[in-house]
Subunit: 441 residues, 2 copies
Amino acid sequence: MAARLHQLGVVALREAFAAGRVSVTAATEHYLARIAEHDPALKAFTEVDAAGAREAADASARRFDAGTSRPLEGIPIALKANLDAAGLHAHGGIGAYRDRIASEDCAAVQRLRDAGAVILGMLNMHEAALGATTDNAFFGQCQNPHKPGYTPGGSSGGSGAAVAAGLCAAALGTDTLGSVRIPAAYCGVTGLKPGNGLVPDAGMMLLVQRLDCIGPLARSVADTAAVMQALAPLPEAQPVRRIATLSSLRAVEQEPAVRAGLALACDLLQGLGYPVTEHAVSIDHHRARLSGFIEAAHAADTVFGADIAAHPEGFSAAFKSYVDFGRRVGPEARAQGRAMLDAAGAEIRAVLQLADVILLPTTPQVAFPHASDAPVSQADFTALANIAGLPALSVPAGWSADGLPVGVQLIGRPNAESTLLALGAELEAALNAYRPPIDFA
Amino acid sequence: MAARLHQLGVVALREAFAAGRVSVTAATEHYLARIAEHDPALKAFTEVDAAGAREAADASARRFDAGTSRPLEGIPIALKANLDAAGLHAHGGIGAYRDRIASEDCAAVQRLRDAGAVILGMLNMHEAALGATTDNAFFGQCQNPHKPGYTPGGSSGGSGAAVAAGLCAAALGTDTLGSVRIPAAYCGVTGLKPGNGLVPDAGMMLLVQRLDCIGPLARSVADTAAVMQALAPLPEAQPVRRIATLSSLRAVEQEPAVRAGLALACDLLQGLGYPVTEHAVSIDHHRARLSGFIEAAHAADTVFGADIAAHPEGFSAAFKSYVDFGRRVGPEARAQGRAMLDAAGAEIRAVLQLADVILLPTTPQVAFPHASDAPVSQADFTALANIAGLPALSVPAGWSADGLPVGVQLIGRPNAESTLLALGAELEAALNAYRPPIDFA
């Protein structure tokens, strides 16, 4: 078996399968072996479906032999544990639901299977998708593959960690305030939150329907695009003429590596011929994100309140404190919060009347130790796209001094997924391109 | 003007021109400004043709406006100083010919101009293309952009240095025993020596017609391919089923970074599904390269002997000692050398009956200080392709501990240029792909 088969992403693996250089069976076995070797320490998976994966690989191999292969034929993909996949555990990272087995595939998983994907299993996540550390009291503390003891982010932390560590070729996550993009940034991979409603949410454990989205994580923009194309039909990419940055970012404390990553992305995009201009906006990122969190906490009360009362031991103290926090916010404060969300969404959409894409950091910080308190600002920059219902892509853009990945985010207009993926691929190519020696930069 | 316009390679610049994001004039001025800023220290150029470049850029801009743009329209390219470009100095790095001005374009340059390229000027080289340091007694000591005081390699050292430092988008070099690939490897860029005869050599200052080739250097495999396609029509890429390494490499001392680069490339290619197998061959790399060098030194005597006698001050002592060395080899030893070249060529071609491509390091060492003696083994691995008349591609494959680039070489069958470029692009993508953290490699 090829020693580095896991370094082949979705696109490279597809080409290797098509050329007959790698068999689907070999790829599936390689990933299963890697999960067995590395996951006990990484804790990215909550369930491995070796039998199902082998069965799917056999079916893919038969379709390759018959010349009827599909777009993701044989590609090993794993799923966040709040998505229904028939016969597998879909507990949403919640102890009370640890025995819940999905009776059928959710729409997104059905589309992946229809495209020929091999489902490897279910991935760890922040409990109930409400939080961004994936230090899960019931299913284990998921590690950042770049630094043991550090968070992979969340809530789709298992998705980010498994993709980054090469335990799957791509993964599905879900994103309410940043839950696909935060782990993508912390783990140094690519993550796309599509526009709201693009991928059907039937069979996903919903939190706030208005904000929730299913989206892919992968090791390159092209790989992310390949999975996204299987999840939903995408309109064609549109030309990008103007890119905006936001004046409001200045009020949010950001680590030096995050500022450097944004400056590099900005510089490279300008080098590629895209004008980048700062737009003055009055968004209070902290308060907008907090209002979004309150909505999510309220929703969690609605969805899980009865079960919390009946089985308090099946929910962590931290999760229950979030729900309590939501309850303590009175109707007037909540109405104010909702008004603020509407205003922030309107400001973002107004900027996108003048520019095609907004460029901003994905997170104000890189991954932090599980032993530290989670910074409250984790979702300050990601929540905007959910609030405004817009697609957003996180792309790696460099490293901190101690080797932790930095991500930048591109937010686009409604239906601009292909546009973001095309621009993201250009940015990625520029970041990966020949970098001249420092004296000639 | 965009701050990092020089980071756009041939392909990215072509797309930016086509989309109207960057103008040909802006790109030409950007490169001319960079040459003015950096070349006094780098010494990669021997002549800058600002007026000619601006005139060509104007013509390109007009063709863009008229919708009649060509494949390399507006791409800034520079030329090794042993190639004729009408009105520019083609002295071959030789002091005696410092005033020689070409009356017309050589075939290769004509093809670049026909494709719309903007010629920026002429590039420094090892005197008479006989040597691989580009420490030129008449035209200056060309520096490696990755480390001042270090050689860029040679004989096309100015080509490697100018491409690596972003002083042109691509360059032409010439290759008798490795003179395109050695500077490509030392400067961390890509270089292709096509099969002998593919690019017409009319108007090139020839050394050994049997060995000499004109070839492109650029900052990516795709960029190299784009220039190569303008130089000659290429047959389609063929599938690669087997890759060979050579047992004979073991007898050549190699720096640890070179061994690591080869191991990495080997591992990645296997990961991509290509079986890599060592083939037992009895080639003596030192002696084969030495026999090639003797042929080149003899040829230099034939070509330059009369001028050396008439204008000894116009040739360096080192060059004259090479010619003397060639003269001292008697006819019998020379016949033995030629027989060895034929035998080595036959062995390489025999391996290529069993495998589609041969993988080996480009050079046994990374770039070394100009102040040190040049290692005699510089061309031990590159000379093979010239001896056998085969195409060979050098691709960057990592770095030494002190930050100097390493190159690996792919040798293919006759007419396999496209095959090498396709495989090289896959290897390059794998090398640039997401690299997992060390614990998950």
